[in-house]
Amino acid sequence: MEFHLPPDNSGTGSVVDLVIAGGGPAALSAALYAARYGLGHIVLESWQPGGQAALTALIENYPGVPSVPGAKLSGIMRSQALEAGARFTTETVSSVEPLGEGFLVRTESASHTAKTLIIATGAAPAKLGVPGEDRYYGRGVSFCATCDAPFYRGRRVVVVGGGDSAVKEALHLSGVASGLVLVHRRDTLRAEPRLAQRLLDCPTCEVRWNSTLKAVTGDEQGVTGVDLETPSGLEHLDTDGVFLYVGTKPATGPFRGLVELDARGAVLTRNIVETSRPGVYAAGDVTSNGFRQVVTAASDGARAAWAAFEYLEDRRQN
């Protein structure tokens, strides 16, 4: 039996050198390094500890940890940061504005002033925008296999996507579902080859290549099927659930106007963690950096904390 502990929730506000916004591997790594550098800091983590990593059933490519549930890995990271002296509070950033030589970071319940900021708010699952997707969200349409897999025991499911997340979660779902169809718009999977091969070898899984989801259909009870556009024309598949892994949308709403974003809404970075505004750094899935893995998020977080430390040191000396 596993037990996840609650975060702290002081909600009283603070004046610090560094605010770290986010709760996933990038933020946790930044918190670890900030604590070890002795920076006065606070981590504002929303009520989704561990970020996207915590939603991953099994992570097999984090160096030094051969195979571990995502929630466990992020839990270990958080414990390590806490041991080092990291300070957390459960608050979601609502806005940030420049204030003097620093920033005013507002949340729903408090305000924090900081000399530097690390944006590590990650990304949320992207939607396809097809008919039925919103209507049946929570009634057969899901973005979280880790959360919802128990409802699909012995049922048929469709997974949409071809990247690491889609294939990992399809493999997780194949352990409970009676049958699984992966719908992918290309003719090969983008997931790392080892994962892809495991899916292709899965006896209860099949793949619809070069196919796209056009609509989710259902009745008053929930999802009953999907309409696909396939190379041989429109096809209707009966299914009880649809899991969407078609990319992510960076969680940058509160930072719009503060730092430059790319067309996707990700924080534009140079030198990996620097943003368009001095004193503001970004790390992990929220950035425009191309390769998004737990290990790269952790690396970004460490670099961002180091960059904030150097920035503060420069200002102290000048």
């Binding site: 037990f3 996840h4 502990l5 609650p6 975060p7 929630a71 979601t92 979280c144 919802d148 409802f151």
Partner: protein, 213 residues
Amino acid sequence: MPLLSEDDRKAIRQHFSTMENTVEVTLTHSPDGPGDSGAILGELAGLTDRIRLVTAPSPETAPPSISVGEHGRVRFMGTPSGYEFSTLLTAIIDAGRSGTKLSPATIEFIGGLREELNIMVFVTPTCPHCPGAGVLAHRMAAASPMVSASVIEAQEYPDLAGAHRVMGVPRTVVNERYHAEGNMSETVLVTALSRAMASGRADAFINLSEFIS
């Protein structure tokens, strides 16, 4: 052998050290015994003198249910494991502290209620999104006698989950009519709920996402 690791116990003691008041925690369990929930609560009560644990056998065979506080408005239905352990622990710690963590806008909303709110939040132990929704409901219930909230482990209460068409979590159902999917932020949920209640709509099921601008 204890269920909680020594590291967990140490962290929980730290959380409990911030409690100022004694909290009554009542476990209702089936006739065959308090089970894992009883063991978990027993270990928690052993870490602080701020918990007064009451166990109440039920004549019916049913999954466990836990009530936090003497008022009975903050409930957890099921075994508090995985992420749901943090939901229960937060309810206990909140009850042991003075004040509320709710925003002023939420306090104003529940202060102006003219009908009681019965909130159910369906969850699973493997859902990292779920504690956010559960804790918000519990905090609203703790703050007002007009609100009661049950966080329900959907797999242990399949009939209740089925009756409310739960196919994904967290699912929040208010007064058997208004429902919200996913972990909405406090501001979004309360704004949507207040708009939906003011709309006067009489539909049997009203999706709160329709009231988010």
